[in-house]
Amino acid sequence: MSDQPAAVRLTAALPAAWRDAARLEAHAADLPAVARFVRDRLGYAMLTNLTAVDDLARGEIEVVYHVVSPAGGAPLAFRARTPRAAARLPSLVACWPGAELQEREAYDLFGVTFDGHPDLRRIYLWDDFVGHPMRRDFPRQGDKYIAGAGEE
């Protein structure tokens, strides 16, 4: 892969930070250190995308961070996992201010709490709403799901 050099430098510099170094999956506690290294030493000054994946079968939520370097070069993605029952990760707003709105989005729709976020509120749904609709076990009982109701 074209981002191999950056990924290799990253895993070599912080050998203890990884839960799964092959897919750049960091321990939650080491996320700020990884982010600082990625930004300051590897030059990835911009966080373009922060997404979450609900891995229902493993009971974990994976948050994926996509970063690019304004100087050019391949983008990089690293990730961290957190149990869905108590989803909690350190916030990276201090590192990339652009993470603020995106962490609020992940909090709103997936229910991941970002420790250290300056203003963790819902962003799309209204404040009174209960639940996190992008989680895969969020009740979905629309027409599509009714069709198979007699089976199983």
Partner: protein, 258 residues
């Protein structure tokens, strides 16, 4: 006989008609829409106003910036739950007689987003609709046909029968609020986030704006498992609201993790 007298009068430059027809002719020829669009359908609505299909031929090209000056609300696009209170408020601000065209699948039923968490499942849950235009998006010709259908409906109205010239007062439609589980009217959840509408749609003004009383899938109406334990008695995955394909093959990664 009456026709002959009419023709004779017309030869002398006197034109006879009924008050109702004159009124309806005036109203049908100047149906000013409210200029607001909500999603992709609005692009087709704009195309309808442009030169090629030219809404102006039907007297409806005057998109008004204020609901006080508008006769017609074209609900063009996806009405999100957060937008729904504003749409009802705009409708309440329009002077009578007022008409609503529900343009596209989204405005009519929630469309492709019906099973999503964020979209109102049909604007007729909140305000009465005169003409539904199907499509995703409907072509400008379809919207034009919707307008012509509306004009035919206006032509058929009788001044002594319509509500807005009688002494029965117009009522404001209640504005929904955003509650814990979805849209609420008077503290009752009517369109939950995840689920089905719990309210029957309104009929058009010609039918006196009643609720039709017909829920969709009444036997299947359920709220969240935390609110309704009949769901919890089913299989565990279903109890958690997970579709089978999701439980069996997480994210189509090529194998279940279980």
């Amino acid at each position: 006989m009456a026709t002959e007298a009419q023709l004779a009068a017309e030869r002398h430059g006197v034109f006879l008609t009924t008050v109702t027809r004159l009124y309806n002719w005036g109203r049908r020829s100047s149906v000013y829409p409210l200029s607001f669009g909500l999603a992709c359908c609005a692009i087709e609505m704009m195309a309808t106003g442009m030169a090629r299909v030219d809404l102006a031929r039907f007297g409806a090209e005057m998109f008004r910036a204020s609901p006080r000056q508008a006769d017609l609300m074209i609900v063009a696009g996806t009405v999100t739950k957060k937008m729904a209170p504003q749409v009802v408020r705009l409708y309440n601000q329009m002077p009578e007689p007022r008409y609503v065209i529900s343009m596209g699948a989204c405005a009519t039923s929630g469309g492709p987003f019906r099973d999503g968490y964020n979209v109102l499942r049909g604007i007729d849950l909140l305000i009465p609709v005169d003409v539904y235009v199907p499509g995703c998006p409907p072509r400008p010709e379809a919207l034009l046909h919707g307008l012509m259908t509306l004009q035919a409906q206006i032509d058929a109205q009788r001044l002594d029968a319509v509500r807005w010239y009688s002494d029965r007062e117009a009522r404001d439609h209640p504005v929904p609020s955003l509650g814990r589980h979805g849209l609420e009217l008077d503290g009752q959840t009517i369109d939950p986030v995840g689920g089905l509408p719990l309210l029957s749609p309104l009929t058009s003004p010609h039918a006196e704006e009643q609720r039709s009383g017909q829920l969709e899938h009444p036997q299947e109406i359920r709220l969240f498992p935390i609110m309704d334990d009949t769901v919890a008695r089913e299989t565990p995955w279903r109890a958690r609201g997970v579709a089978r394909e999701i439980a069996a093959d997480d994210l189509k990664r090529g194998g279940a993790h279980e």
